[in-house]
């Protein structure tokens, strides 16, 4: 007997989300959006419960989670940092900003700082090309970034 261990609140939340979507297999992506929206990431147990509730194999859920870059199985930092690597940002030096962030945080892309404060990710185009290069810290967008500004931006969250 395989066991999915989750807290009561999570179980109830996930079951409710699935129910709202009619426990339909075709709704799996919408369900995952909502669940990740709540918990920030999709650990294995959560995927197993979603699969169970929607009546689909967990391999299919994982196949989806690992396909779409929006879904993640690693928890994000308290302040998730996303560096836009869209073309406009790239030609205006986004890579240098990313390198500087990696250097100052001491982590790679997709990782979380040991204190759990920051996580670093890349995304493709937030649609603020006018402000390129752009990074996001949580919901806040920082435009016209330069490697020099990295220190100041990080300082806001320390």
């Amino acid at each position: 007997m395989a066991v999915i261990k989750l807290s009561e609140s999570k179980i109830n939340f996930i079951k409710n989300v699935c129910k709202e979507h009619g426990n339909k297999a075709g709704e799996v992506i919408n369900v995952l959006h909502k669940v990740q929206g709540e918990y920030g990431y999709l650990p294995a147990e959560i995927q197993e419960l979603v699969a169970k509730e929607l009546g689909i194999p967990v391999s299919r859920v994982y196949g989806i989670v690992s396909f779409y870059s929006f879904f993640t199985m690693t928890p994000k930092g308290e302040h998730p940092i996303s560096v836009c690597l869209g073309t406009a940002c790239y030609v205006r030096g986004a890579e240098k900003v990313l390198d500087e962030l990696k250097r100052q945080l001491g982590i790679g892309v997709g990782e979380v700082t040991p204190d759990g404060k920051f996580s670093l990710n890349c995304l493709r185009c937030v649609g603020a090309c006018g402000l390129a290069p752009v990074i996001e810290v949580g919901e806040k967008v920082y435009g016209r970034m330069t490697p020099d500004r990295v220190k100041d931006v990080l300082a806001e969250y320390k």
């Binding site: 649609g127 006018g130 402000l131 435009g143």
Partner: protein, 130 residues
């Protein structure tokens, strides 16, 4: 809101609505009603359009200016976000770019109140099919 039941009704509604908007603009106090549109698309908001709009609303209250603020979509001047369009009665609308709180204050105190030009005017560079 009752549902619109026919094309004729929709057309009548359009008449009424555009008149209403006109009246709102021109009637009772034609000299003091100013319209400000703030471009609130993702890049405008990212550049601080929300804060600027909030700030302007407060400032307008403070200055006892009666201004209608509306949000709108992207005006296309992403290089100059945040952008706002100010329409003073009887005049052509003017678009200002790179509007921060300081410039917002300036726009209100100088342009709106005293019709003085301020920096950051962006010429409208397109024609729109209406």
């Amino acid at each position: 809101m009752a549902k619109v039941k026919s094309l004729a009704e929709l057309k009548a509604m359009r008449e009424k609505l555009s008149n209403n908007l006109d009246i709102r603009e021109k009637s009772n106090d034609p000299d003091s009603l100013v319209q400000i549109k703030v471009a609130m698309a993702t890049c405008g908001i990212a550049a601080g359009a929300k804060q600027v709009m909030e700030h302007m609303m407060e400032k307008a209250d403070e200055l006892k200016l009666s201004i209608v603020f509306t949000q709108t979509g992207c005006m296309g001047y992403c290089h100059a976000e945040p952008t706002i369009e100010v329409k003073c009665p009887g005049k052509d609308p003017i678009v200002f770019g790179h509007v921060d709180n300081t410039r917002a204050d300036e726009i209100l105190t100088k342009y709106v109140m005293n019709n003085e030009m301020v920096e950051g005017v962006i010429p409208v560079n397109y024609e729109t099919i209406g």
